[in-house]
């Protein structure tokens, strides 16, 4: 068994074990409703962290608009699902969700390509700047978008829902700042875990494939990569669009977990993009398993702090974040950790050696 294969199996196995553990807890009824409600969001954020790690860690480009791609996936799929619920009510939920998933991922990926074509030809921080603007633009467009469908056809406006001239306001699907309400709750924990494992398989396979090595060579030295004939833009575009499409998948999962979907700065704005970036940086750029674990911990943490320090939980959260960042990545800390593990190891060896002597 090769080293990479073993590492990949551990990563996927971790998710699987967590899934089995959670299922056992649900079956025995010993899980709190808070945790039960958090299971799907955990999958959403883990997928987001893994997908952004592909851009930041593997491709080496900074993307500050990941929430924008998530937003596209969420709104396009919620739009589709609500239309289907209204006009084809007897469509099975699983099929509806599958189609919504394909639509959300495809649209997010398409936008990834559209943005990537001009920007990924450039060197430097341009991708960060453009994706930052992109995320904000998407959020603002959705906030002024009014769309409804009735017998007369599709009504569309950028002004207000009154300008749609619809007789029945129940048939407005996207209602500006109100967003989409009444999306069917098609997602569940099992679907979330399946999607997370799929994401992991896609990303891990890509990294360890020929294409993945080409992508990483671009990250490490663009000139050298070009000189051996690697089409730089094509590989950059490939990694970035896959990353965007996976963010779209997370968006689909997010949208189908809540009955109301709005594009607030909180959930699809700049802060969210930074949050995902924090998952990646804390977990380790290029370290898929690490970013996944970081996403889970940082999502759980503020909720677990509710019970302990209700008033100051966001403050404590920030402090813990800083401490974790230092513990994981400060050079002195890494040195200390190395020393500590070495001494523990030495002691263990001494003990086992002593045992052998006996």
């Amino acid at each position: 068994m090769s080293k990479t294969l073993r590492s990949n199996i551990i990563t996927v196995g971790l998710v699987f074990i967590a899934y089995i553990g959670a299922q056992i807890l649900i079956a025995t009824g010993s899980i709190s409703s808070l945790m039960k409600g958090l299971l799907v969001p955990l999958c959403v954020y883990a997928i987001l962290a893994v997908s952004l790690n592909l851009t930041v860690g593997i491709l080496g480009e900074l993307s500050l608009g990941h929430a924008g791609f998530m937003c596209i996936g969420a709104f396009s799929s919620a739009f589709f699902s609500k239309c289907m619920k209204m006009f084809v009510p007897d469509m099975p939920g699983a099929l509806r969700f599958f189609l919504a998933l394909v639509i959300g991922a495809a649209l997010a990926g398409l936008f990834g390509i559209l943005i990537g074509i001009p920007v990924l030809r450039l060197k430097g921080d341009y991708l960060a700047i453009v994706t930052l603007a992109f995320g904000e633009i998407i959020k603002n467009i959705i906030n002024i978008l009014y769309l409804g469908i009735d017998e007369e056809g599709v009504h569309f406006s950028l002004k207000s829902s009154l300008d749609l001239n619809m007789a029945d306001s129940e048939k407005i699907i996207i209602n500006g700042a109100m967003g989409i309400t009444g999306t069917p709750n098609d997602s569940n924990f099992t679907i979330g875990v399946v999607l997370l494992i799929l994401t992991l398989i896609i990303v891990l396979n890509l990294i360890h494939s020929r294409d993945g090595r080409a992508i990483m060579s671009i990250r490490d030295n663009t000139i050298a990569a070009e000189s051996v004939g690697i089409p730089v833009t094509r590989y950059k575009l490939m990694a970035f669009s896959i990353s965007a499409a996976l963010a779209g998948v997370a968006g689909v999962l997010y949208a189908h977990n809540l009955s109301t979907l709005t594009a607030l700065p909180k959930n699809f704005g700049y802060n969210m993009s930074i949050m995902i970036l924090v998952f990646v940086v804390l977990g380790g750029m290029g370290n898929i398993r690490g970013s996944m674990i970081a996403a889970v911990i940082l999502t759980l943490l503020p909720e677990l702090l509710r019970g302990v320090v209700s008033d100051y939980r966001m403050l404590i959260y920030a402090i813990i974040l800083i401490v974790m960042m230092l513990f994981n990545w400060a050079p002195k800390c890494i040195e200390w950790r190395k020393k500590a593990t070495a001494s523990v190891k030495a002691r263990l060896q001494k003990k086992s050696a002593a045992k052998e002597v006996e």
């Binding site: 808070l34 409600g37 906030n143 009955s259 109301t260 398993r289 677990l304 593990t341």
Partner: protein, 383 residues
């Protein structure tokens, strides 16, 4: 190093499982009514959530000091939802684990819609102090303390029309805010069969709410003699200041969001002279119930209450009245209490600080008359 990573991985995984196990929570069987509160106490909308939380706490303390409801004490657990639908579900699950038997919340609209889906599934009684969209009460277990958006907008249009306040009206509203755009829509619908005409409807969004000169210029050019502001007081204060500096002095008309404008720092309150607003509550009104509440709130929190605090305060008294009417007991299950309170709500009538003789339809909407006040000599006075 590799071994260390492995150890960390295992530790993380086990920590996760332990965390998932969490606390089971204790439900029922006690002799207090457990009320869960949900609202934003951090983030951009924190001012509303904190006000509601304080108002609710004040009322809970008062009721407990007076001997409780039917002899049972009330207990409050208020959780933060950061004005985010996803976080509001977490907040709801937290209070549910704590053993909440009824919910006061959510404070803001979208979280409220998301949570109502869950409370409906659990058949838990839910009373929102200030989420005003109609969708918030789409299920039979959800009720409102505040007016619904259509109610406010239509009432404003009717008031302006019937009192002949203006011929040409301009509206400046926040298109990224559900409250504001909801009122605007019902206002323009209500305006269709009134004597005045809407000559300009200008929007702004939460991202650019510091400069209103464009919107004001358009309203001025259209010759509007009244500007309707279905927005919150922070932006209203800026609009009034900017209109003054460009020499535009129409009549101003607003809704309950305007309450609080006299307390804005560095705002020349003389600019607010003559501003009319429809509001269920004004902190400075001479009404006895409002005065008592305002004084108690000032004493407890050293702050002037706004309508959110008043809504939260009333919400507790409304629940108490519904409990009295239905004879519900803390030993009953959540769903039984939900059924009992649901049935009691349309039968009760409550005199609160946000309205006298409030009654409810079984759809969840409140029935009370808005009070029109005008700012005169730096004080609210009834029109």
């Amino acid at each position: 190093m590799k071994k260390f990573r492995k150890i960390v991985s295992v530790a993380m995984a086990s920590a996760l499982v332990l965390a998932l196990a969490g606390c089971g929570g204790n439900k029922g069987g006690s002799d207090v009514f457990k009320i869960g509160g949900i609202g934003p106490t951090t983030g951009g909308a924190a001012i509303y959530g904190i006000n509601v939380m304080n108002g609710v706490q004040l009322a809970v303390d008062e009721i407990n000091a007076a001997g409780g409801v039917n002899g049972f004490q009330l207990e409050l657990n208020f959780q933060d939802d950061e004005h985010d639908a996803e976080k509001s579900i977490n907040a709801y699950n937290t209070v549910k684990d704590w053993g909440a038997q009824m919910i006061i919340g959510c404070v803001t609209t979208n979280p409220c819609i998301a949570v109502s889906e869950n409370t409906h599934a659990d058949n838990m009684m839910m009373l929102t102090p200030s989420a005003s969209a109609v969708k918030c009460t789409q299920y039979d277990n959800a009720f409102q303390v505040c007016f619904s958006d259509p109610n406010q907008g239509a009432a404003s249009a009717q008031y302006i029309g019937e009192n002949n306040l203006a011929q040409k009206v301009a509206v400046i509203y926040d298109s990224s805010d559900v409250y504001s755009s909801g009122i605007y829509e019902s206002f323009s619908k209500g305006a269709e069969n009134q004597s005045f005409e809407i000559v300009a409807a200008e929007a702004f969004t939460a991202d650019n709410k510091t400069d209103f000169s464009v919107q004001l210029q358009k309203a001025k050019d259209a010759g509007a003699d009244l500007v309707f502001l279905p927005i919150y007081y922070q932006e209203s204060a800026l609009i009034l200041t900017q209109a003054n500096s460009m020499g535009y002095a129409p009549k101003w008309f607003s809704c309950d969001g305007m309450d609080g404008i006299l307390g804005v720092e560095n705002f020349d309150t003389s600019l607010a002279e003559g501003v009319m607003l429809l509001t269920p509550f004004a902190a400075d009104s001479k009404d006895e119930a409002s005065q008592k509440f305002t004084n108690a709130y000032r004493a407890a929190y050293n702050d002037t209450p706004n309508q959110f605090a008043a809504d939260g305060y009333d919400a507790v008294y409304i629940l108490a009245e519904a409990i009295r009417q239905s004879g519900a007991k803390p030993s009953m299950s959540v769903s039984e209490i939900g059924d009992a309170l649901k049935a009691a709500m349309p039968q009760i009538s409550v005199d609160g600080v946000t309205g006298a003789g409030m009654t409810w339809l079984s759809t969840g909407e409140v029935n009370k008359s808005p009070m029109a006040v005008v700012i005169k000599n730096g004080e609210y006075s009834a029109m």
